[in-house]
Symmetry: C2
Subunit: 625 residues, 2 copies
């Protein structure tokens, strides 16, 4: 076939393997062309997996490229997101994109064909590029499709071999094995070479097999360039009997002698002259178009009838922990069939177990694997569910990279971090979430909520189900008095002014437990004839800038107090809001500066300088009495 | 034995197993007593492992309790940190603490016997309590002891079974197997019950064996309450032949019939009456004291002669990436024998590989396992080394929980995150560190540095080796002109004023790549007769408050520009510093608000609103022209 050949050849499930090989070569050529044109990208990582993907897309991937929203479609996830030239070459072969887009926009400004795939492309479910994540998302997608929807969709994940060093991969395979996800197949492209040299396991395909089997998955070894062997393995994987790991021995740069199995070619486009020789060696440019197996026609899902949700109510003055209100509310909104809940084996502490008791079929126990908990949530969100994933605030840091990537995937989901701050008391610093506000505020497009009582926790927990993006609820371990009547509303971006008068000299700003400390401090200050306004900043991101600005103008002095490290939390959020308004009140910030130890909650609030006593003193100092 | 027995019995390697059983019962009784006295804690999780620890401490743990700094000591790490009652009961049995401390201070305010162990106790190497971490630190300790020091120290890690669901555990065992760490033994206390119910694998000890073996560790199954079997397994583990995983089938609450193997008792102290019955059932209070095997006498390590370090130098004006300067400097300071470097298979991008070429014996390739990279660094710091761990800034988020816990362990180590911000260009958002400043600023006791050129990168990289706590260097992908002469100094907490004059109307504050944009913006502004001061905030935490305050006072207007999300970064650090000074200049903050895509660095700086053009415009608006 010459480089000038422009005849379109249709390929599909009936094509023989010689034709599939032509497709594989086309995917290689197009991977080389697009990355050389872009001046960057990972052609050699694409070449190793081209045969695997050519067989998959012609014969096994049931996908309607014209209707990526068809719920009966299979899912294809490139966990090795850097092989985007291969993925986009597949999109071209499927007729989903055209030649011009591939050749002129890949990796360019404003393009949807980004360096690593993201869901700005309708055929991409999740952003990848942080290794060891695609496989984890795939587990969530497969679980949702099978157990929540009884859809026959299969999930196919292409992994690199380097990423098998990530622990998250084994969390994922553990869950695939445990749930017998027979609709889940991982193809490991064992090309032996990582970014900077040989991978940890090289071509020791047996090691991958032992590990996959130890995690209760079926494992098959194939020569990833023997199309018949690949076809056989994919047919086995497609038998619906077991989660399958295909360990494919491949050659990085396969098909281009000058770079094949050579070090130093990771993440480098071929220079123009080498690209030209490579394309010739690969048989020139082709224009095969693939119409692979088609999914069943989309079953028209009945529009879900609006559901009546009855939220729990709490009496003002009653002592109730916000985590308790969260659990009860989560169970209540579970009346909505799109709500799912995920637990990392702390559901009796976080109270997520309330949902599990009410809706066991939509409650997923992930055990102590926070990365996989978030990944499962993301996978379920891909299938249209709204997940609530919950653990201690401190342990959400374990999944930071997954939360970051979920934001790039533009996933909507809700996280709840319980046991925040030094307020937890005796368990000590390892269990105290003191960094979570900084982490969650800096997540792109996030919403950060932090209720001080059961009524607001209830309202905010319910609101989160309809928020776009990643929303975060921070809850407290201890029980504190309910401050608000059940009919009170808590719009996202709002705040509550709990104490105010015409002559307020200072404003005390808290959230969560520190609201209660601010109220007590206001009492102390009142006794000293210093009237103090008290504001509950239950919405940390977005902040209620209007109320803040008024407080700054009217009282001229602010004390912000938070059970969090000083950096990145409520204090800095307030300063950012005020700076944007060019308001500059007198200001004091009380936060946890020292490394805490054990103690009672009250002792620890006091030792770390965020108790009522410290608030009153700071206010005192600010107003100059 | 009655509850009144107060005769001290000495136990040691020659004690028979009946005597060891008495010790095990003592550890149980003391676990019950201390947690009941404290009113919180995890006695049942302690009871399951008491037999294992009794045999270990009498017969295998070579430890000089009077000299915990002896480098020949073994290491005992409670990865299941919630079993602190058992650990502290062992300390009492060893004579390291006394009865009064255990009974009156455990979990109390100001106590060193915190809810979960931390290194405020001299016999504790690392803080645990975030599960799946102790085992990972142990790998680092064992690697350092064996490969860097040729010490015969062994590392013993007690794991819970629930924590085996964490991927980090498999990253750790992968490294133990790969490095054939024959001085490393993990004992899994398979008590079948987690916090909220049965564990994922229950008593399926074979599953643990299959997995440990698949990761190339030797695995042994024992009845964890059969002292002879435990002794036999520990003897095998102690043979110096292979990394060993002892899978011990145990009963949670063993020895106390009312709670043994019962759900609902995790993390709950026994009420007074039940505690009294338990102590009677366990044979009453004992006062055995253990003197187990002793390590070789501490070999007097020769004081290391001061080493001459010759740092690289760069010509002003030359285009050099800060990551390049980092790599060269790391190789140079490697002349110091206490410096070690760790890579997550991106050393050719981060330039950490320069160290590997110069000092291969102190360069550790962890492959793509960022959690284990940080854990290995922590373990090496425990043995007295100063580690530099490096990957892309974005991927350090993968190890957030390990960094958080390292701060609680009061570890000194240096991290370098390369490829920060949208400046990286075509690879897209998955590779862009846009949350790392928020993450690293909020780490307790951290130092955050962000050089704009090769000279400052060199100086700061070298300075980090002598900083206490966790220090972080943020570096940039692209090459930018060297701004500073080689003799310039860069104290931590300082800044550099690059442009200044008597009539400055505005101050432009940047760090890293945005310093170069600020300089260009100042040129544009000068052309419009707006003199602008330019400050390089290379030290983000601590900030140079004095220089900032002067700039605010003298110019009255600040523009802060950073290649990071708006939350938790340089802008908020500046606002916090100014608020503490009660300074309130006009203020503009340019940061990355939108989700970026691919493009060239210059295009992306401009699209996201942090380029010279945007800086000049913001300054223009502030000064009211």
């Amino acid at each position: 076939m010459s480089a000038e050949n422009t005849v379109t050849v249709w390929l599909g499930p009936d094509s023989d393997l010689d034709e599939v090989f032509e497709l594989a070569q086309q995917l290689r050529v197009d991977s080389v062309r697009s990355s050389t044109a872009a001046g960057s990208g990972h052609p050699t990582s694409s070449l190793s997996a081209a045969d695997l993907m050519a067989v998959l897309m012609t014969r096994h991937l049931r996908y309607d490229w014209q209707n990526p929203k068809n719920p009966a479609n299979d899912h294809l996830i490139f966990s090795k997101g850097h092989a985007s030239p291969l993925l986009y070459a597949m999109f071209l072969a499927a007729g989903a994109i055209d030649e011009e887009e591939l050749m002129t926009t890949y990796r360019r400004k404003g393009a949807r064909l980004q360096g690593h795939p993201t869901p700005v492309l309708p055929w991409v479910d999740v952003a990848t590029g942080s290794l060891g994540q695609g496989i984890a998302y795939g587990v969530g997608v497969a679980l949702a499709a099978r157990d929540l929807e009884q859809q026959s969709s299969r999930v196919w994940v292409l992994c690199g071999d380097s990423e098998m060093a990530e622990g998250s991969v084994w969390e994922a395979l553990d869950k695939a094995g445990r749930h017998r996800l027979a609709n889940f197949t991982v193809i490991i492209d064992v090309n032996r070479l990582g970014q900077s040299g040989p991978t940890e396991l090289g071509w020791d395909t047996d090691a991958y097999v032992r590990r996959a089997e130890a995690f209760d998955c079926r494992a098959l070894v194939v020569d990833g360039h023997d199309l018949a062997a690949v076809e056989q393995a994919l047919t086995v994987a497609d038998d619906g009997q077991a989660p399958t790991v295909i360990v494919a021995r491949t050659v990085k740069g396969q098909g281009v002698a000058e770079v094949a199995d050579a070090e130093g070619w990771h993440g480098k486009p071929l220079p123009d002259d080498l690209a030209a020789r490579a394309i010739t060696e690969l048989g020139g440019v082709r224009h095969h178009t693939v119409r692979g197996p088609q999914p069943p026609a989309a079953t028209s899902t009945d529009p879900v009838a609006p559901v009546q949700v009855t939220l729990p109510q709490f009496k003002t003055g009653e002592a109730v922990a916000t985590r308790v209100a969260f659990g009860k509310t989560l169970a209540a909104i579970g009346a909505r069939p799109d709500i799912v809940a995920l637990d990392a084996e702390v559901g009796n502490s976080t109270h997520a177990e309330d949902f599990g008791k009410a809706h066991p079929e939509r409650y997923f126990q992930i055990y102590i694997a926070e990365q996989q908990m978030i990944a499962t949530a993301v996978g379920m969100a891909v299938r249209g569910y709204h997940p609530y994933a919950t653990t201690f605030a401190a342990f959400l840091t374990r999944a930071h990279d997954f939360i970051r990537m979920a934001a790039i995937s533009q996933i909507s989901m809700s996280l709840c971090g319980t046991h925040c701050g030094v307020e937890i008391g005796a368990d000590g610093p390892s269990q105290m979430g003191l960094e979570d506000l900084a982490m969650m505020r800096a997540i792109h497009g996030s919403t950060v909520l932090y209720p001080s009582d059961a009524t607001s926790a209830t309202a905010l927990t319910a609101s989160m189900a309809d928020l776009d993006g990643i929303s975060y609820l921070r809850t407290t371990r201890g029980a504190y008095p309910v401050l608000y009547a059940p009919d009170e509303t808590f719009p996202v971006g709002g705040s509550k002014t709990l104490r105010t008068g015409d002559s307020d000299q200072v404003t005390l700003l808290g959230a969560g437990v520190t609201v209660h400390e601010c109220l007590a401090a206001a009492d102390q200050l009142a006794a000293e004839s210093i009237p103090a306004r008290v504001i509950d900043l239950y919405s940390v991101k977005p902040l209620d800038v209007g109320t803040l600005a008024r407080a700054a103008q009217e009282t001229g002095a602010l004390v912000v107090v938070e059970d969090h490290h000083p950096e990145g939390g409520i204090g800095e959020a307030v300063l950012s809001a005020l700076a944007a308004q060019r308001l500059t009140p007198a200001y004091a910030h009380l936060a946890v500066h020292d490394l805490p130890g054990s103690g009672t909650p009250a002792e620890l609030l006091d030792i770390t300088g965020i108790s009522r006593t410290h608030i009153a003193r700071a206010a005192h100092d600010l107003v100059g009495h």
